[in-house]
């Protein structure tokens, strides 16, 4: 640090010793008093950055900062902070006066943008300037594990399908019973035409005997019988019929 300082002192003819503090306000987002003691702020320009640790009064105090344009970053385990641009210059407060003073200006800055692309003004002034830094939010290090919840279980399309078919299987006979005779007859007529044919006497059995493969192949019951020799399953069916 000391070598850097002396080298900077050589480079910048007007060595100033600006002094300012960054303050973490007490916000609903975070209580700065609970932050870990390793929380620190850095001012990066060239060479080794200036570093200030968080003090007991929740500030980072920088002293002996030479003129330059700095990227201020706050490193904290628990909170993320927005970066700042801090310019330290030496100016004449009144035109023509020989007196020169340090002037500190701060802005919001954006990573990956042009350095001149400054954001909101975050205050400026002479030595002893206090700038509030804004926490963006807490850092969440862990991934949530998808736990078991009945709602997510019910949202599963497979479960929904199963439930729907359950309702059909158990609810249909009840519906049929409550149908008026006219509709019932119409329904039975319709069922006879359906591929799950015939056996109104034993619907369960007819469902079991339904040859899904041949139906999918677009074959009717009769034409399917000609190709039955190929597969063992319909043969069994034939025997039973």
């Amino acid at each position: 640090m000391k070598t850097i300082l002396s080298s900077l002192a050589l480079l910048v003819p007007l060595t100033s010793a600006a002094r300012f503090t960054l303050h973490i306000p007490n916000t609903p987002v975070a209580n700065p008093s609970t932050l870990p003691p390793t929380t620190h702020a850095t001012l990066q320009s060239s060479g080794e950055p200036y570093t200030a640790l968080l003090t007991r009064s929740n500030v980072f105090s920088f002293t002996n900062i030479t003129a330059g344009s700095y990227l201020a970053t706050i490193h904290c385990r628990d909170l993320a902070f927005e970066p700042l641009r801090i310019d330290v210059t030496i100016e004449e407060p009144v035109e023509g006066s020989s007196e020169r003073r340090e002037v500190i200006r701060t802005w919001q800055t954006f990573l990956g943008n042009e350095w001149d692309n400054k954001g909101e003004d975050r205050g400026s002034g002479g030595n002893g300037l206090v700038v509030d830094v804004r926490p963006i939010g807490p850092k969440y290090y862990f991934q949530e594990r998808g736990g078991f919840s009945p709602l997510s279980f019910l949202k599963n399309p497979m479960i929904l399908m199963a439930l729907f078919s359950m309702v059909l299987i158990f609810g249909m006979p009840y519906l049929m019973e409550n149908m008026d005779p006219e509709t019932k007859a119409e329904f039975e007529e319709m069922q006879k035409k359906s591929p799950i044919a015939g056996a109104a006497t034993n619907p369960a059995q007819s469902i079991q005997n339904f040859d899904m493969a041949s139906w999918l192949a677009g074959k009717s019951e009769q034409s399917a019988s000609s190709s039955r020799g190929h597969s063992p399953a319909p043969q069994g069916k034939k025997q039973r019929n």
């Binding site: 000391k2 300082l5 003691p37 899904m212």
Partner: protein, 954 residues
């Protein structure tokens, strides 16, 4: 090809793996270390006035300040200084204060004692803080407010300063221009004594000079030179003690005569050493409290044992007299001082017992036998601090925090070992992976079998299997408990204590060598359990190991050190020394016509040599362009398996990877122009394959680089002085391909049988890679980077970067830094299929990428990775000041059932289904059910046959 496409797709779709909360603190470990605590700067102290419990504060040999909870040895807070901090480093605390004050390097800092926050800091540029004391009393009145500090500075602005206890502002300073060597300061209620070493101009012995200063104004009150003829400053035993009678003690070269002076008086008392044997060292212990009795203890160490004598100071007469002596005990031991009101107690800690005596008489107040512990086996106490509770003339309790010779910092409470902290692991210089003893043994057996004829090998194998049967009863015995635990979702942590061959290969040893010359082995899978710990100096007694480097071989590690010629071979499972005859030098992995090329950085040039050793005649030399300075070079890892030789694009065409095993990435900087360059070399031929350079680079900052598979990456800091466009830190990633066109093998395409894997066999010039690279802005500086390693290389790699400013290690998913991310437009459907997203210049470090999550890993020098037993997982160990280990799954744990798989829930589901079956069974008759079954089976076979047929026809 289809398989590759599927794999690539799977890898792309896999979300960035983060740590699950229930895995954190289980799969990883962190040794948060301080370092060896310093003798005079370790103490028990209440963090604030009125606090019930006290904390243990220390500053270590590497200038780290830490507060440890004496109950369990947990770190309460810690502050490390930048590596350059030099000087002695002292830590002091005033009575009933809520701060501790440290003087390290050129800064004096007050820390909040309870949480380690900074209270104030004062820096004197160019100076070194030599000594620090707290001004307890002023004119005999105890200051109840913040107590001021007295600091002694050396080198530039040599002298004494008094700093305000509240703000750290300088109240007065006393400049010393005499040219003496400043030694220490000491305070008494009436004056401040500045002790310096005065060497006469005309030669002669160094003498002690005492200057007394007024505490209020800092003006010199008196100055005198003591009649003390010192041969070296090391002969000074003691200076100070904040008592009513501060002392100065020194000895002669042969440690025979002890000379004591009460600071402020000119009289010197002499005492002879009590033992007849040659005294190796003398240590003086005096209480540090203003109102305690002016008694002190002198400890004499001989080769065979240690003895002590207690002296009393008569403040009125300014005389020192011997009160009593403590008997000589064989073996090493140490003494500690503690005070209670005005009483002073001395605690003697030896390897097997703790004895408490009062400073007034030699009667033993308490005695406890120390119960042995494997952590302290074969070691002895070096120094410590104690707290004693004395009730009605007997010591009812004592706790001592003792540093042992093997580097363990232990707290012994009434003879019981409360905790140990492995402080010897601080500042690891080098580390290497080693296999577990079991794996090594198996590998050895298999090797034996490999060298026998078929029959003998078979017999050997059968014998081995029969021998393995002896583990069967134990295995069967453990089985119920294991199943029970596994079903209830209890962690596999139970297996941590005894290392057994684990199926997943998570248990691996990492052997570490520290800057203090210690060698230790840790089990990464068992939360960093220390398996053995030895001092390297026991193998080479005359050598001080300062920067040992390790190289792992099968079953042993090779230790090299700049201060030691040749190398040591240490068994990696036991820590025992192997002679070079024991080791059959590895039948190196050369096959037939292959040749070794060794390369090294010599005189700012990278040189390659034929054979295993560097010789006078390099085969090739890489000299960077004029003025450029080589920062570092990185080579592909020795074991870097690649699963696929190409990258499958969204349209099913393939970009062939440039896979040269001999790639080296050299980073150079040109300080004057503030540019950085990167050169990609072929280490076999020394040919330059690719070069690029960057302007506006801060050449004083680190520039880490790494290379793996067919990609490289490096990072640098943007310099502010040049009018660069943006600011901050940049990360560059480059991919190497054989050709810019998909389905094209570039210059290799014309050759019928060629491979970049063996470029020596390629004809003509080595083919140059086609490089795609992208640069990203990153929010923090990187000090080191490496890449994860897995068994087959199927899992996507993850770039592991060390970010010192946030004390963390971050795993950046490869997908995020893919250089093929489309710039300035949204990805096309095919690119999206590859997992590419639109390029954005900034890569914010997502907290979910932090491998260390809430741990703060400080002072990390390097991160090493290793494959584990399963493809999905890579083992990671970071070392430096701390040691941190974890395992990462860059493409999620696809081959391991994690904690997210609830076995209990699965069993319950099966049970529920069974109940459901029982409930539904009556709905279908018995015969029907049978028919349903047969029919379903038949149907499925039919469908499957059809599908197989269709596959064959296609």
């Amino acid at each position: 090809m289809r398989l590759h496409a599927v794999l690539a797709l799977a890898a792309c779709l896999a979300p960035a793996a983060a740590i699950f909360e229930d895995d954190a603190y289980h799969i990883d470990f962190h040794h948060a270390l301080i370092g060896h605590p310093k003798r005079d700067a370790t103490f028990f102290q209440k963090p604030y006035a009125g606090s019930k419990a006290s904390l243990l504060y220390t500053v270590s040999h590497n200038q780290t300040i830490g507060a440890v909870n004496p109950k369990d040895g947990a770190l309460v807070w810690r502050q490390a200084f930048p590596a350059a901090a030099h000087g002695r480093g002292t830590l002091r605390a005033g009575e009933d204060q809520d701060t501790v004050v440290s003087a390290v390097g050129d800064r004096i800092t007050a820390w909040s004692a309870s949480d380690g926050r900074i209270v104030w800091e004062n820096t004197v540029h160019g100076a070194i803080m030599e000594d620090l004391e707290i001004l307890e009393q002023e004119d005999g009145i105890t200051n109840t407010e913040a107590k001021d500090s007295i600091v002694l500075l050396a080198e530039k602005s040599q002298g004494v300063k008094r700093l305000d206890g509240k703000t750290g502002r300088v109240k007065w300073s006393y400049q010393d221009t005499s040219g003496d060597t400043p030694f220490q300061v000491s305070t008494s209620p009436t004056a401040i004594y500045y002790i310096s070493l005065h060497t006469p101009m005309l030669g002669g012995y160094t003498k002690l000079r005492v200057t007394s200063l007024s505490p209020i104004t800092g003006k010199q009150l008196d100055q005198y030179t003591l009649n003390s003829e010192l041969q070296s400053p090391e002969d000074i035993l003691f200076a100070g003690a904040n008592t009513a009678a501060p002392l100065l003690a020194w000895t002669d070269k042969s440690n025979k005569i002890l000379k004591v002076n009460i600071i402020g008086s000119k009289g010197v008392s002499s005492f002879n050493a009590p033992t007849k044997d040659a005294v190796e060292s003398i240590i003086l212990h005096a209480p540090n409290r203003v109102n305690s009795l002016a008694h002190f203890l002198v400890e004499y160490h001989t080769a065979s044992g240690h003895a002590a004598e207690v002296y009393h100071v008569d403040v009125n007469k300014n005389s020192v007299s011997k009160a009593y002596s403590l008997p000589e005990l064989a073996g090493p031991g140490t003494f500690t001082t503690s005070t209670s009101d005005a009483n002073v107690y001395f605690t003697r800690v030896t390897t097997d017992e703790i004895i408490v005596v009062s400073s007034v008489s030699h009667g033993v107040l308490g005695r406890w036998a120390i119960k042995g512990s494997p952590a302290l086996a074969g070691s002895y106490p070096v120094h410590g601090v104690s707290e004693v509770v004395v009730k009605a003339g007997t010591a009812s309790a004592v706790r001592s925090a003792v540093l042992f010779a093997n580097g363990q910092w232990a707290l012994i409470r009434n003879g019981e070992l409360a905790w140990t902290r492995p402080e010897f692991l601080a500042n690891v210089a080098s580390a290497a992976w080693a296999e577990l003893p079991e794996q090594e043994a198996l590998a050895h057996e298999l090797e034996v079998e490999g060298h026998q004829n078929v029959l003998a090998a078979y017999v050997h194998r059968v014998k081995r299997h029969i021998k393995d049967l002896e583990h069967l009863p134990a295995w069967l015995q453990r089985m119920p408990a294991r199943i029970f635990n596994s079903v209830l979702g209890k962690s596999q942590d139970s297996g941590i204590d005894d290392i057994q061959r684990d199926t997943f290969g998570f248990h691996k040893l990492v052997v570490v060598a520290t800057e203090q010359g210690r060698l230790a082995a840790l089990d990464v899978g068992a939360k960093g359990k220390i398996l053995w710990n030895i001092a390297l100096s026991q193998f080479a007694p005359d050598t001080t190991f300062s920067n040992p480097s390790l190289k792992a071989f099968r079953g042993y590690v090779e230790v090299k050190d700049p201060g030691f010629e040749g190398s040591l071979f240490v068994n990696s499972t036991t820590g025992g020394l192997l002679s070079s005859q024991d080791i059959k030098l590895q039948p190196a992995f050369i096959e037939g016509t292959q040749k070794f090329i060794t390369f090294d950085l010599i005189d700012d040039e990278l040189k390659g040599y034929s054979g295993l050793e560097t010789g006078p005649q390099p085969v090739w030399t890489f000299t960077p362009p004029k003025g450029e300075r080589i920062l570092s070079y990185a080579a592909r890892p020795l074991n870097d398996p690649v699963a696929s030789i190409g990258k499958v694009l969204g349209d099913r065409s393939v970009l062939y990877k440039y896979l040269n095993p001999n790639l080296i990435l050299v980073t150079t900087v040109l300080d004057s122009a503030r540019t950085a360059s990167v050169y990609l070399l072929d280490s076999a031929s020394g040919q330059l394959l690719y070069a690029t350079s960057h302007d506006h680079v801060d050449t004083t900052r680190p520039m880490p680089a790494t290379i793996s598979e067919n990609w490289f990456s490096y990072s640098f800091t943007v310099d502010s002085k040049s009018s660069s466009v943006s600011r901050g830190y940049e990360l560059v990633v480059g991919d190497l391909f054989e050709s810019s066109l998909p389905d094209d093998r570039g210059p290799l395409g014309a050759i019928s049988n060629s491979s970049t894997v063996q470029p020596s066999a390629a004809q003509g010039d080595a083919a140059k890679p086609y490089v795609i690279s992208q640069t990203y802005n990153i929010p923090a500086e990187i000090s080191h980077m490496t890449v994860t390693q897995t068994r087959q290389g199927i899992t996507t790699r993850e770039l592991l970067v060390t970010v010192p400013s946030s004390n963390s290690i971050i795993g950046i998913p490869r997908m995020v830094i893919d250089p093929r991310r489309p710039v300035g437009r949204d990805p096309t459907a095919q690119e999206a299929l590859e997992g590419l997203s639109r390029y954005s210049p900034v890569i914010p470090f997502d907290p979910k990428w932090y491998l260390n999550h809430k741990y703060e890993v400080m002072g990390i020098k390097e991160v090493i990775t290793s494959e584990s037993g399963v493809e999905s997982t890579s083992l990671v160990v970071a070392y430096g000041l701390d040691i941190f280990g974890t395992r990462v799954t860059p493409s999620l744990a696809f081959d391991v059932l994690g904690k997210g798989f609830n076995k209990l829930q699965m069993l319950l589901t099966v049970a529920a289904l069974f109940v459901g079956v029982l409930f539904v069974a009556p709905l279908v008759s018995h015969t029907d059910a049978f028919q349903v079954l047969t029919r379903t089976v038949a149907y499925i076979t039919q469908v499957r046959r059809k599908r197989i047929n269709s596959l064959w026809t296609i």
